[in-house]
């Protein structure tokens, strides 16, 4: 029996890095050299190293991005898709439309503050809203597990219908599949949504400038922590409820008050930190966040401390992150705070030029640190 061997994957990673290493300029400081090396590694087209899908591929962090960019975008390549925005925007006739989809696989299906049904409506409505569209129509695709209680399905459909009515959208087409027991987890729902862009706003990371303000519409992490606790496996209880809500009305209010909105996102899987990293990397600007300004409920803080989780990466399902012309930050904040879904809004950061592509945090303690893309999977199936 061999009693010692090497790890093939590690040897290959080293060899590969050496092979692709570029000569470093001698005039750079050691720090600059390292940063340059890291930048080069980060710029490399995303590579999927794993041979199998792991839970990390669904967590919204680096693995998800690698999968999307290295596999799906690679296969489907087209300019609309490559935007990788929350919704695709295109013109049909004289109208500009937004189109988006999400599947919902949350466990448990029912949780404080909502269920998979309203989540499935609100989530897709929100992706349309943050595309600047007025949400119009939804599709609903159900994948049901043999044995799923019909009473639960009725409850889910009822709450979808209520959420649709609140959001002013109609579920106009659908599909139902049943899979054998043990091939799903009760009920999965896909919704796709179509909306129409009626405002003249141009949203997108391309519009972001140094000096812009970063605003979040309310306390973060409620949804993710609620789901985590609702699973019961951690034996932790707290008085928390999901923040799931349709944000199109809040978006309307915001756009009325602050036409200088550069970008809208709903902070779902991957949380606020993931969105800010996407922003920084797409815009090649820095996002500087002030930790003490980030609104958070004490129970979210407590649960995250207990579990060693960073709340910046925890999902919300009813929180807007927006980048606004710095001059309109106050107007934007005031507008958000005047809306029931935005009364906890806060300015949490600013856009600066340097260091490009990075999110930095001014900690509540008065220190500074980097906030990078999430590696791994902090939370199981929260949407």
């Amino acid at each position: 029996m061999t009693t010692e061997r090497t790890a093939g994957w590690a040897e290959r990673a080293v060899a590969e890095a050496e092979a692709t290493a570029e000569r470093e300029s001698g005039r750079l400081s050691p720090e600059q050299q390292v940063l340059q090396r890291i930048e080069r590694a980060r710029r490399r087209s995303p590579k999927i190293r794993e041979s199998r899908i792991t839970l990390a591929h669904g967590a919204g962090g680096k693995a998800t991005h690698s999968l999307i960019e290295g596999l799906f975008v690679e296969a489907f390549r087209n300019p609309t898709l490559e935007e990788l925005d929350d919704g695709a925007v295109f013109s049909v006739g004289s109208s500009r439309l937004a189109f988006t989809t999400d599947s919902y696989v949350v466990s448990p299906l029912f949780f404080p503050g909502g269920d998979i049904g309203d989540l499935a409506v609100n989530g897709t409505v929100n992706d349309l809203a943050v595309s600047g569209a007025r949400p119009l129509y939804l599709s609903a695709g159900f994948i049901l597990e043999e044995g799923f209680p019909i009473a639960d399905l009725r409850r889910i459909a009822t709450s979808m219908a209520a959420a649709a009515q609140r959001a002013g959208v109609q579920v106009v087409t659908g599909d139902t599949k049943v899979v054998q027991r043990g091939k799903a987890d009760g009920c999965y729902i896909n919704t796709a949504g179509v909306g129409v862009l009626e405002r003249p706003v141009s949203l997108g990371t391309a519009h972001i400038r140094p000096g812009d303000a970063v605003i979040v519409s309310g306390p973060i992490g409620d949804h993710g922590v609620t789901i985590m606790l609702a699973r019961g496996e951690l034996d932790i209880a707290a008085d928390l409820a999901s923040d799931t809500a349709a944000l199109h009305g809040l978006v309307d209010t915001l756009l009325d008050a602050a036409p200088g909105v550069r970008l809208l996102r709903d902070a779902t899987r991957g949380g606020v930190a993931t969105i800010l990293n996407e922003v920084a990397q797409a815009a090649q600007l820095a996002v500087i966040v002030d930790e003490s300004s980030v609104p958070m409920r004490p129970a979210v803080t407590g649960a995250c401390e207990l579990l060693g989780i960073d709340p910046l990466y925890v999902a919300c399902e009813g929180r807007l992150v927006t980048v606004v012309d710095g001059a309109q930050a106050e107007a934007a904040l005031a507008a958000l705070r005047g809306h029931p879904l935005g009364d906890g809004a806060a300015l949490i950061g600013r856009i600066t030029a340097d260091p490009p592509g990075m999110v930095l945090l001014r900690t509540a303690f008065g220190g500074t640190r980097v906030v990078d893309m999430l590696v791994g999977d902090p939370l199981p199936r929260i949407c």
């Binding site: 009693t3 010692e4 093939g8 890095a17 792991t54 500087i288 509540a364 008065g366 980097v370 999977d377």
Partner: protein
């Protein structure tokens, strides 16, 4: 949060920073090692180094319990997890730790039933509710954690649960510190002692460090002010020419530790003659195994494990980083072959590892960070 927020006060930090600067001898460089990975995490998470003068640098020690697990032990654990009927349980931190052939996450994706638990008691609960399965707990951690494992085994024995066992990888901190102290190329001015380990072992065991190696040690808490104050206390000792073991973390750490916890460990586990630490190699009497009396709960006895050592790649310079000889970014593969996504060295494995903490939270010089965030 009580006992937390009070120790995160920026104004007090500013005051301490001034006192720290005042204690530094002009022209002298200070290097202190925080032994514990939890400290490393706190330092970066809160940006504590921003309060330290250029002349004080912190060296990140070997105290990340996830990082020190050698790849071969991960392979062994995966071999156990792949046995029919086994449910492997582990702390979330373990899931991404690479072995010679991938991590728990990969093994899980390939079909093994591996579940995250928050506590070893949760693993025992899984055993209780799955009587037809064999539930193994992947035990890792220093003296902070080994009492919990021991208590869980005792509880299993008391309840007569016979489908629960422990794959024991508990390590002890002192031999690792000693190994670092014995390293010829080391240059350290003192230690920030591991506060939570000390709740169990107390402060007395550190005395040899001051006595035999002439290095002061301050047992430090985990909030940022705890760490700043501990640095202050170390500098004060140096300034006053003292070399002692001090306890900054008195609200939590009794000087004599926790006797019940030590007893529980001693009842269930015993020292191994030697154990491999990733990045540091084999260290004598540095880890625990299950006692003969608890053989029925010892996964190492119950399962056939390959027991093949997996060598770190040659390029890996973790040993030097752990001893404070190199800064993380001075390693040739830092940020290229070795990233938190694909950690080829131990210090990149968990966010408590020196390289990962530096990569995730640091990465820029303090000065550049501070300037950039001064909006």
């Amino acid at each position: 949060m009580r006992f937390v927020d009070e120790y995160r006060d920026a104004d007090k930090a500013q005051a301490l920073a001034t006192q720290i600067a005042a204690l530094c001898e002009p022209g002298r460089q200070y290097k202190f090692m925080e032994v514990c990975g939890g400290h490393t995490h706190t330092i970066y998470k809160h940006g504590i180094e921003d309060y330290l003068p250029e002349s004080v640098s912190l060296v990140h020690g070997p105290g990340c319990p996830v990082c020190v697990i050698p790849m071969g032990r991960v392979d062994d654990a995966i071999a156990i997890a792949n046995e029919p009927g086994v449910i492997m349980t582990a702390f979330g931190d373990m899931m991404r730790v690479p072995g010679g052939n991938g991590s728990f996450l990969d093994a899980k994706a390939a079909g093994a039933d591996i579940r995250m638990v928050y506590s070893p008691l949760d693993a025992l609960k899984i055993a209780r509710t799955n009587p037809d399965r064999r539930v193994v707990f992947m035990a890792i951690g220093f003296e902070t954690t080994s009492p919990s494992t021991a208590m869980t085994v005792l509880r299993a024995a008391a309840e007569g649960i016979d489908n629960f066992s422990v794959f024991c990888n508990h390590v002890t901190i002192l031999p690792a510190i000693k190994a670092i102290l014995d390293s010829p190329d080391l240059r350290l001015d003192g230690f920030l002692g591991p506060g939570h380990v000390s709740t169990v072992i107390g402060c007395r065991p550190y005395e040899f460090i001051a006595r035999d190696y002439g290095k002061p040690l301050v047992c430090a808490g985990f909030e940022p002010l705890d760490l700043l104050q501990s640095v202050y206390l170390l500098l004060q000792q140096l300034a006053e020419g003292r070399c002692e073991v001090e306890n900054q973390y008195t609200r939590v750490v009794p000087w004599d530790g926790n006797l019940r916890a030590l007893e529980a460990i001693g009842q269930v586990m015993e020292l191994r003659p030697y154990f491999e630490w990733r990045g540091l190699g084999f260290i004598s009497h540095s880890a625990l195994r299950m006692r003969e009396e608890y053989a029925a709960y010892d996964a190492e006895r119950l399962f056939d494990v390959p027991g093949v050592r997996v060598a770190d790649p040659k390029a890996c310079q973790c040993g030097e980083v752990l001893k404070g000889v190199l800064k993380p970014w001075e390693c040739k593969v830092f940020g290229t072959a070795c990233t938190p996504e694909t950690p080829i060295g131990t210090c990149m494995v968990s966010s408590e590892g020196a390289c990962a903490a530096y990569y995730n939270f640091g990465r820029f010089t303090r000065q550049r960070l501070v300037e950039a965030t001064r909006v």
